[in-house]
């Protein structure tokens, strides 16, 4: 049973149920986009899939193995996670920051020549090679997004879970960052899961779209079915039109 699976996944905060018995089967090599209104439980689902929040009931399985039974370092080698609004606490050199992605692999030893090569490759792959010597605390939003993606790539995970990695980026930066992640899925066979708020971007890059509202999945399927106007109306309370143009799918938001 290969892939990342959730079975009856339930999470509570206090007495409130954030996720109510979710069933999911995510496949490697696919880009899955998770959509949903604010407060739908997207970030909670992402953290649970990354093994960072223990479920109240149900479980997350990685290639059939219960995630909570994996050692933290073993889990971290296979699942890379990019939290929402990533923090950079100290003015580190970008290359050192990206090198933090190697922590699950190196244990107590220092970085080897092979690690250094992987770090440079990750910087190049994320289009951040020219930033390598910069102070990470002085980066612009777009630069920081590229560096954070390079940090995840440097861990060479089988799965990349990124919580709103494109938030606050200009359209050009959004496309660059999204393409880096799509490339990892298509060429590297990595499973990529993203949360987004941009419906058209989701339509364009996703192999599969999940729509989450009030802790339940409203839709789970290819973009042309999961982004159908009735689904988006139920999830967000907006009228939309799904258009198919020469450049692929796009979603127009028409109003309430």
């Amino acid at each position: 049973m290969s892939g990342l699976h959730a079975q009856g996944l339930t999470l509570r905060r206090g007495r409130r149920e954030i996720l109510a018995g979710l069933d999911l089967a995510l496949r490697p090599g696919e880009v899955t986009v998770l959509l949903g209104p604010n407060g739908a439980g997207k970030s909670t689902l992402m953290s649970a899939l990354a093994g960072l929040l223990p479920p109240a009931a149900g479980k997350v399985l990685l290639d059939g193995e219960d995630l909570s039974a994996l050692a933290p370092a073993a889990r971290a080698r296979r699942i890379g996670f990019l939290p929402q609004t990533p923090e950079v606490a100290w003015p580190l050199e970008v290359r050192i920051l990206v090198g933090l992605g190697r922590i699950p692999h190196i244990g107590a030893r220092g970085l080897s020549a092979e690690d250094a090569r992987i770090i440079e490759a990750a910087l190049a792959e994320a289009g951040a090679a020219d930033l390598a010597d910069r102070d990470a605390s002085t980066l612009s939003g777009g630069e920081r997004a590229r560096v954070m993606i390079a940090r995840v790539l440097a861990g060479e995970p089988d799965w990349i879970l990124a919580d709103e990695p494109l938030a606050g980026l200009d359209p050009g930066c959004q496309i660059d960052a999204a393409q880096t992640l799509v490339r990892r899925a298509k060429a590297g066979g990595c499973g990529v899961v993203l949360t987004l708020h941009d419906l058209s971007l989701a339509a364009r890059i996703a192999d599969r779209v999940l729509v989450l509202a009030e802790g339940r999945l409203l839709a789970d399927g290819p973009p042309d079915s999961a982004l159908a106007p009735p689904v988006l109306d139920r999830a967000f309370g907006v009228r939309t039109a799904l258009r198919r143009g020469p450049e692929g799918l796009s979603v127009d938001v028409l109003g309430r």
């Binding site: 990354a50 073993a74 080698r77 923090e87 580190l92 050199e93 940090r151």
Partner: protein, 324 residues
């Protein structure tokens, strides 16, 4: 050699030079040449029984303050964190002071109580700050801890059973290394060293915490293990220091700041240089109080506070500019 290597070598040389100076400086001049010619010279007793414990204690206590300051700053991602600011030193002092009211007495009671106070302080600090280790929450928790410990010590002062007790309490509040005995060193030395080792084990986790708690956890870092190492290491290194020398502030705050521009901001890379730097700061401070010409020796804790206050002010001003 890397820049960090150069800085570390320089720090080792500085600590060595300050240690030699600390052995030589004092009320009684030690003519080392004559002493070497006369192994029976009573001056040897001054060197070995008085100066040596004082020097080694200054070195170890400074290393404990510097390393715990660097580790606490790394863990809280807060450049204002330090055992003094966060109330750990004050908790240790309160622990020692409370023993004056205990009906029992045994030789190591006060030092052990100081360490228990430090451990309770760190534990309370981590519990108060909870999972949300934001800069503000941590500093507020430190304010709460300092307030509680300060109130406790003030109460002890006002209710002190005897004038000796008052003097004893003042000793805990204004740290000093004057007249420490070899026994103090034998007790505190191994404990501080154990604390240093525990704190040094947090390096990798502190690096990962640069990315925040979620980022660190996603890299496979066990944050509860890090908390335990940090709490135990700080309690041992700082608690044992307070136990034999009272509260000496600011070395833990100042040292990582002075070194960050020199060795880089990566938290693990800052740990050992901060230990060396803290040793140098406390050795230098302890030398200074012996060289200041005054009737009574200025207490080391007071001297450090006089230097640390303006530094704290400077730090706040530069941080205010950066934080907007």
């Amino acid at each position: 050699m890397s820049r960090r290597g150069v800085v570390i070598t320089g720090l080792i040389a500085l600590v060595a030079a300050l240690s030699v100076a600390s052995l030589m400086v004092g009320r009684t001049p030690l003519p080392l040449g004559d002493m070497l010619a006369h192994p029976q010279d009573p001056l040897w007793a001054i060197l070995l029984q008085l100066r040596l414990p004082r020097t080694v204690l200054a070195l170890l206590i400074g290393a404990g303050l510097g390393l715990s300051g660097a580790a606490l700053q790394g863990f809280t991602r807060n450049p204002l964190a330090d055992p003094g600011v966060l109330g750990v030193s004050a908790s240790a002092a309160l622990g020692a002071v409370l023993t004056l009211w205990l009906p029992l007495a045994f030789p190591l009671l006060q030092p052990l109580a100081a360490m228990a106070g430090a451990l309770a302080g760190v534990g309370l600090l981590l519990a108060l700050a909870g999972g949300a280790s934001s800069m503000t929450v941590f500093l507020l928790a430190g304010v709460v801890l300092n307030t509680i410990a300060g109130a406790g010590v003030a109460l002890a002062l006002s209710l002190a059973p005897t004038p000796w007790a008052v003097n004893g309490i003042i000793d805990w509040l204004m740290g000093s290394l004057a007249d420490r005995s070899p026994q103090d060193l034998v007790f505190a030395g191994p404990v501080i060293l154990a604390g240093l080792v525990l704190l040094a084990l947090t390096g990798r986790a502190l690096d990962a915490l640069t990315l925040g708690e979620a980022g660190a956890a996603s890299l496979g870092i066990d944050l509860s293990r890090t908390r335990v190492l940090l709490a135990a290491g700080t309690a041992l290194a700082v608690g044992a220091g307070v136990a034999v020398a009272g509260v000496i502030g600011f070395a833990g705050l100042v040292t990582p700041h002075l070194l960050r521009p020199l060795v880089g901001a990566r938290p693990s890379g800052l740990l050992w240089p901060s230990a060396l730097g803290g040793a140098a700061v406390v050795l230098a401070g302890d030398l200074a109080v012996r060289l200041i010409p005054s009737a009574a020796e200025v207490r080391l804790g007071v001297a450090m506070a006089c230097l640390g206050g303006p530094f704290f002010l400077f730090l706040l001003l530069s941080l205010r500019r950066r934080l907007g």
